[in-house]
Symmetry: C2
Subunit: 319 residues, 2 copies
Amino acid sequence: MLEGATKAHAAYLAPIKTSNRALVACHGPRPGKVGLVIGGGTGHEPCFMGYVGRGLADAVAIGNVFSAPPPGPILECAKAASGGAGVLFVYGNYAGDVMNFEMAAEMAQEQSIPVRSILTTDDIASSPIEDKEGRRGVAGNVFIFKIAGAACDQGLSLDQCEALARKANDRTFTIGVALEPCSMPQTQRHNFEIGPDDIEIGMGIHGERGVMRDRMMRADEITDRVMDRIFSEMKAPAGSSVAVLVNSFGATPLMELYILFRRVEQRLSAKNITIEVNWIGHYCTSLDMVGASISILHLDAELSQLLRHPCDTASLRIP
Amino acid sequence: MLEGATKAHAAYLAPIKTSNRALVACHGPRPGKVGLVIGGGTGHEPCFMGYVGRGLADAVAIGNVFSAPPPGPILECAKAASGGAGVLFVYGNYAGDVMNFEMAAEMAQEQSIPVRSILTTDDIASSPIEDKEGRRGVAGNVFIFKIAGAACDQGLSLDQCEALARKANDRTFTIGVALEPCSMPQTQRHNFEIGPDDIEIGMGIHGERGVMRDRMMRADEITDRVMDRIFSEMKAPAGSSVAVLVNSFGATPLMELYILFRRVEQRLSAKNITIEVNWIGHYCTSLDMVGASISILHLDAELSQLLRHPCDTASLRIP
């Protein structure tokens, strides 16, 4: 897979010679710029390597399917991304990733590369609000990468980049919905079981348990359940602006994402909330899982400017 | 679906008021420019409406799932896309589409809009070479749209635009491979049956019969069968350049497309053929069908320049 991807995206990505699990942006790291390192398991393509390039991430560490990358490649990414102004690690809050990114951060600091880590926790169904830090990072992490990448590209300090990425994470709210499991290539088995007429709301991107299993319902009803839950946490008054990401987990087609988006737009519009940016498609997948997630980033002027900042990567281009 | 898509892509697409099955590019048609009209059934998203915008198509006519659009909306598209220099219809060679686009072309000519029609026939597995005109148009049509759109945008005459689109069609070679059927929303049934360990080579984007059903094989072997067949028709000498499209039919993840691309690149490289452009992802789908297609456009200097010409649409942006 990596051989194919690096051949395909040679204009964006180059292998880091000291590791076969780390890639660096061809036009990313530069002296004086904070470096942005992302990464995680494979099986979520275009996460994470599709978001490496100018204006976004500088390097990506790559694990096995649904497994964290080892500390070694993450350290190589930190070194490759370092331009002397420090490095930001932004990754999903999963035990394996946390352990390995933390080890790599320590090793990088020993080599005099200052590292700050932001764990994405946008999956609001994964843990109650009292345990916000225990939540998982899912598709909304693409918003957080984008904000962090723009802040780095604009030459802000490590403190400022960290603060902006944290703000983006605090204001991103995602819920996923699964209809059918994916098949794990390692085991050739499904990663969970669900009845043909059932739906699970709140499911994670590796098939983690959601908050509710129910009989299949119409797209508008699914969207309403998701949006009600997002509205219960997102304190966006009338007149606010948001970015919306309707993301396929893999097998759910664009046609159905548009149907979900239609209702998302209606619900936001009814509250007089403006959709400033919408992304609809395959942004953070789970192999061939059937399902989708809805992420809302509650913008302010600063985040809006960063979200619109140009980037040029294999999977996201903002001119 | 259309409500969601037009809300999402309001910067690119506007409904044509006289039809609920026709959309026009916000920044497409202009006086003196040949207009490009595309269209077909839904269920292939981002085909076709994702390719409407500056530098690509000017209007799109939209049918039901896997069904041709009626002549009325196609005529409305021709009128909306007409800038006084004539209109090009580019669409896949299917009986329903041919009938309705031809009726619309006649109606447009009655209203003094000159129309030329190019039927895409890139699916080389769909009919033997002796019956080239009987072949179906599949994912390779995205290349043909792109060439035609660029020719129109560069202000070429209707004759020239037609000739270039025909040349692109003549030099585009696609073969699809299916592993699992899609589920038709109208019937809630599969559109064909295939064993869990079987694979069908040459299958069309609506589940049309392929050329060979076989036991499941490795990705490299699948790619070799496809490429051998493409090489048997594509007369590209060493030193040639091509564009490659590795397209998911829906449920096949990007990860697997990269694995296919890896082998495509090896095969082309062994013949000293350069990949000038590669597109890998969901370009022309079949709802949630499991499978992929490989399209090769044999470039020359003229086609290469047109393929790289800037375009700005919901699903394809070339800066």
